[in-house]
Structure formats: structure tokens, C-alpha cells
Amino acid sequence: MCFEFDQVSFSWPGGRTILDRQDMALPEGVFAVVRGPSGSGKTTLLRLLNRLEEPISGEIRYLGRRLADWDPPQLRQQVTYLQQTPFIPDLIVRDILLYPFRLGVNSGKIPPGDEMLGAMMARVHLEEVGLDESGAQLSGGQRQRLGLLRAMMAEPRVLLLDEPTASLDRETRIVVEKMAMDLCRQGVTIVMITHDGFVPEQVPVAEVTIQHGQVTVCL
């Protein structure tokens, strides 16, 4: 199993219960679509998977090993979370994309060259953006796609995508969804929050629903 929940509870201090002693299992290699009403805890669920949040009780396992036993940077290098509005530093596009290679966890890895970066950008329709362009000048949709490419750079095994298509037009949304499905076919487990009726195609799908502190998984 990719992720297993064993009686996991989470609530905000003095506030709502997001998860109430929940058990769940998510196999490796699936495309998990997370749905639920606003405020039900979809983002928190994703953040629990790479320890940006910690459960108040219970245990989460990744690849059979307790999350607490993983070195946090190693875990997050494998289980990478993409924020709903990705933070794009005030750098040129090349440096934004290669940001993961500045981190100690990726030391020794060889960053891709300009040709490869250009090809990756073309896959998400960013071919008009130059590698020496400032990231500050990009539109919301371009920043979203750049954030996705950056998250893929260090080749994670799991991508946690927090509504990656929310700020995109229909055409670009399809491009991003196709890219996520391609990654899934290459063996990357995708856990993606979506508000629309998107259903992944030609990949093993897991429908994850979260509501009133309960989480259900339909394979």
C-alpha cells in the first residue's frame, strides 16, 4: 500500500474535527481524486500525507513504514505537495524550475539542461515563456503550471495536488489533467483535489471522499 490510515484523528485547536478515528488504504500507482464540500478538510488530508500537519492520534504509514519513521525531507522529496496557489519566488524561470536542486535532499542529482526544461515547459503549453524571464511577470495560470513542473523536477513517487486546475481556463486545465494522468501511467501515485467532475481516464482511479470527519475510498 502507498498510504494506510490507522484510526487517524485530526482537528484544529479548539475547532472543527477534520478526521475522526479514520481507517483508509490507498494503493500505489493510483490516481486518487479527492472530493468533498468546502471546508471538509481536503487540503488537510493532503498535508497529513507529507507531514505538513500531524494527526492528533492514530498512525499513517507510507509504503508500510510509519510516517514518523521517515526522515521528513526524504519523505517530502518522495511525497511532494503542490500548494493550491504555488509560491513562485522572485527568480528567473530556470531558477524557479531548478529550485529543488538547491536543497540538500537532492544533492548529487544532476539538474536537467535547458533543452529538457524547454521540452517540459512545452508539455504544459508554456513554450512562449523564456527560461530567463522573471517568474514575477507570469499570470496565475502560468505560475500554477510552473509550480507543477517544479514539483516534478526531483521525480517524486507521489504527487499531492491541491486543486491544480482551479485557476486555469478549460484548455489549460485539460493539459494539466492530461499531464497528471501521464505521470500516473509512468508509475507516480497522484492524489488530487478537485471541485469539478473530472474523472481520470486510462489509469487506476481511487475516489476519495471526505465529509463530516469521515473519509471513504472507492477503488
Binding site: W12, P13, N50, R51, L52, E53, E54, I56, L67, A68, P72, P73, Q74, R76, Q77, T80, Y81, L82, Q83, T85, P86, F87, P89, Y99, P100, R102, L103, G104, V105, N106, R150, A151, A154
Partner: protein
């Protein structure tokens, strides 16, 4: 030393007219600052007079225990002021600040009195107390600025920090830029004073020595030592406190604990 000319009670009263002038400005401009002004002026007079008696006693008794006790008390008050200037209440920093300030200030003040000025004993209250007082007073402002900047930046730049963490960055990598900015925020005022001293302002210690009849060149040498001492104490205190407090802003999973509005345990 020739000694400064005496200021009698009548003359002190005349100086009080300056406060009255400030009060008049407040009344004229409807600033509503009369009450804090009067309270501040009275506190200033009472606290300094009390300190005068304490210093006279400490100078007469010349006990290392009393000197160190007074020094500890100064640091306690400085930490209270730092606590008051920092809005963050979720991350503990008071005890750490106290211990670091106590250690750094004591070490620097002892080097200055024992080695540079060459007093015997090194804790001679006539030198140790005023020098330590200047170190404490200046560095506490820097520490307050740095801590406040650290906490507020970690909150407002949560997205930036978590972007780095999410990609596999350590807490240290994710907060490096914020810590550097916080360090600069604390240190720049004391570096600016190094550049401005003698041109833009004459520091109180030098002025005091000159007024009490010291050779201006001797007063200046003392002032140079004090300025260097202040820069070192600020740098060491702020660096050490930030290094410790920064770790407390992250949990065991290197997740950010300090956030706008709420904090996870």
C-alpha cells in the same frame, strides 16, 4: 577629573519646564499625550533617583555578589521589555533570551573591564555596571526587533516556507532567508550607529565623561570601545537567540508550527 558642575533642585525644576513645553504641544495639538508624558517624566525622575541611590550603595559596598545580582536584575528587566515588544506568545523565547543575554553580556562586559580597561577587580562596579548597562540597553532593542521580525515573517511567508518544505527542504533551508532578514533587522541599527557616531550624534557616555571633566580624547577612546562592544554583543545575542528560537517554530516533522491565527501542537 575636575567634576561636573552641581545641578540643584531649583535647576532640576527649571529642566522640568522642558516637559511642560512638550505637554503644551500635546494640548495645543490635541495629541492626548499629557497623561503618559507626566507619568513618563515622574517615572524617569523616580527611577533614576532610585538608581542613583542603588549605585551609590553598590559602589560603597563593592561586593561581587551585589554587582552580579544587580547585573542579573538589569537583564531581567531587559528581557521583560523584549517580551513586551514582541507580539508572539505561542513560541517560548523568554528564558532562552535571558540566559543568552546574561552569558553574552557578562562575557563581553568582563573582557572590556578586565582586559581592555584593566580594572581590578574586573567587576569593579564603577566600570562594570555602567558598561554592562549600555550593552544590555542597546542589545535588547536589537533582540526585540529581530525576534519580532522572525515571528512575523514566518507567519506572513508561510507559503514560501512550506513551498520549500514540500519539496524536501529542511526547516533550516526553508527559514534561512527569513532568519537572515531578522538578523539584519537587529544588527543594522547598531552598524548605522557605528557610522553615525561623532558626526550625527555624540553618545551619552562620551558626553557624560566630557561634562565630568575628562580629557575628550580619553572619553572618545572609551566610546570607541563601547561602540565595538555593542556591535559584538548585538550580533552574538541575536544570532544565538534566533538559532534556538527558530528551531522551536518547527515541529518534529520539521513542519511549521507558527501560523497566522493558529498554531499546531
Amino acid at each position: 577629573m575636575l567634576g561636573a558642575l552641581d545641578i540643584g533642585s531649583l535647576e532640576l525644576g527649571i529642566a522640568g519646564l522642558f516637559v511642560a513645553a512638550a505637554g503644551a504641544v500635546s494640548l495645543w495639538g490635541r495629541l492626548n499625550l499629557e497623561k503618559p508624558l507626566i507619568i513618563g517624566a515622574v517615572r524617569c525622575g523616580v527611577q533614576l533617583t532610585a538608581m542613583g541611590y542603588v549605585l551609590r550603595f553598590v559602589f560603597d559596598v563593592k561586593s561581587a555578589w551585589i554587582v552580579m545580582g544587580l547585573f542579573c536584575l538589569m537583564v531581567v528587566f531587559a528581557v521583560r521589555i523584549v517580551k513586551g515588544n514582541v507580539k508572539e506568545r505561542q513560541i517560548p523565547f523568554v528564558l532562552t533570551s535571558f540566559l543568552v543575554m546574561l552569558t553574552v553580556y557578562a562575557a563581553i562586559s568582563a573582557v572590556v573591564t578586565g582586559v581592555i580597561v584593566g580594572t581590578s577587580p574586573w567587576w569593579d562596579p564603577r566600570y562594570f555596571i555602567p558598561l554592562a548597562g549600555m550593552v544590555v540597553g542597546n542589545s535588547m532593542t536589537a533582540l526585540g526587533l529581530s525576534l519580532d521580525r522572525l515571528f512575523s515573517d514566518l507567519k506572513t511567508k508561510q507559503d514560501q516556507v512550506e513551498m520549500c518544505l514540500s519539496l524536501g527542504g529542511t526547516a533550516r533551508e526553508a527559514s534561512q532567508e527569513i532568519v537572515t532578514d531578522a538578523l539584519k533587522a537587529g544588527m543594522i541599527p547598531s552598524i548605522n550607529s557605528l557610522a553615525g557616531v561623532g558626526l550625527v550624534f555624540l553618545p551619552g557616555m562620551m558626553t557624560g565623561q566630557i561634562l565630568s571633566g575628562s580629557d575628550p580624547m580619553l572619553a572618545i577612546r572609551y566610546q570607541i570601545v563601547v561602540m565595538f562592544m555593542l556591535v559584538a554583543s548585538t550580533a552574538l545575542t541575536v544570532t544565538a537567540v534566533l538559532a534556538i528560537v527558530r528551531r522551536r517554530c518547527f515541529g518534529p516533522a520539521q513542519q511549521l508550527l507558527i501560523r497566522q491565527g493558529k498554531r499546531r501542537e
